[in-house]
């Protein structure tokens, strides 16, 4: 609990959440320990609240990443996100939400989004949305959705700026992954992030000086 508190105070939120998960699953059927923790650590209630909300929302960390890390006996998770210029991205994203039926570039751009969402929502119940989102075709399609790849006939400046900030974020994420890999040479690394990042980060990792073998789920699940 002390470690969770220190991670929280030092803004290492991924590991604060992971420690919170470990604590909560340990004391699940141990009311005595729960009372003791609540009395001894003032932040216990907040941690428990956050754990319950995220678990209830079916957050992937509480259902996949943290259980897996615990099972693999991995004590520390390496954060790699970059949102340093995300406010700029959001500015262009918000501007593009206003539909404009006179601009051909914007019509084409929104068409990608609509096609993707239509595919996603029309999946039969027994097919896997997770595998769908990791399929090579889809991760490539998602590059268009975030303006990571912009067709030559797209001239709209907002779309170009959106693409610029999206690529910037993914380039820095790839640099963070590279930095982790360099400090742990020969270690197998798995990265969990929203499916939209797969294609973009893969492209950025493949541009690096060091040649990594970058795999995606379809490489493991045929």
């Amino acid at each position: 609990m002390e470690l969770q508190q220190l991670y929280f105070l030092s803004s290492d939120m991924g590991n604060a959440d992971y420690q919170g998960y470990l604590i909560m699953t340990k004391i699940e059927n141990d009311p005595q320990n729960e009372v003791w923790l609540g009395e001894k650590f003032p932040e216990y209630k907040a941690m428990k609240g956050s754990y319950e909300i995220k678990r209830h929302r079916n957050d992937e960390y509480f259902h996949l990443v943290f259980p897996l890390a615990a099972k693999l006996n991995i004590p520390y998770l390496y954060p790699i996100d970059d949102l340093s210029s995300w406010k700029e991205y959001e500015k262009y994203f918000d501007r593009l939400q206003v539909r404009d039926t006179t601009d051909a570039s914007r019509i084409k751009f929104h068409q990608h989004e609509e096609n993707f969402l239509r595919n996603l929502t029309s999946l039969p119940k027994d097919s896997s949305q997770w595998m769908f989102s990791n399929a090579r075709k889809i991760t490539d399609d998602l590059l268009y959705l975030n303006a990571d790849i912009i067709d030559e006939d797209i001239l709209n400046e907002d779309i170009r700026k959106l693409g610029y900030y999206w690529v910037q974020r993914n380039r820095i994420m790839a640099m963070h992954i590279d930095s982790v890999a360099r400090t742990h040479p020969n270690s197998r690394i798995v990265v969990f992030f929203g499916a939209s990042h797969v294609g973009s980060v893969r492209a950025q990792l493949n541009k690096l000086e060091i040649h990594y073998q970058v795999l995606t789920l379809p490489d493991l699940i045929k």
Partner: protein, 127 residues
């Protein structure tokens, strides 16, 4: 001799591939509908078979002030400083973290969880 060299040239790309460090990218949905939670099972199995030694996650790096502020708000560092005083947590947090990370109780605790498979994947019952 030439045949032997040809054989080596043939094997070279495979050897390079084996020596390359492997990075597996897994795309998540952030929130999965309850009726689709079972789809996580094959993903979890595949990643477990990949046997990663390092896990990277889409969370801010603690030293990246701009990202931490974006996620936690402009006042996040001030709020945490106030909490640090309120909870009587002294300075040198990074040293304390290093000491606690080495605590054998922590790793043995995680290992114990390896046996408690039902608690690990509580909703989907993955073992």
């Amino acid at each position: 001799m030439v045949r032997y060299l040809r054989f080596l040239v043939f094997l070279f790309p495979a050897a390079v591939c084996l020596a390359q460090q492997k990075i597996l990218l897994v795309g998540t949905l952030h929130q999965t509908a309850k009726e689709r939670l079972s789809e996580i099972i094959p993903i979890a199995s595949a990643v477990q078979n990949f046997d990663p030694e390092i896990i990277c996650v889409e969370y801010p790096i603690a030293t990246d002030t701009a990202t931490v502020k974006y996620k936690g708000g402009e006042e996040t560092f001030l709020k945490k400083e106030a909490l640090q005083k309120e909870w009587n947590v002294g300075a040198n947090m990074s040293n304390k973290i290093k000491v606690l990370q080495k605590d054998p109780y922590l790793s043995s605790d995680i290992k114990k969880k390896d046996g408690a498979s039902t608690a690990l994947f509580p909703v989907i019952g993955y073992g």
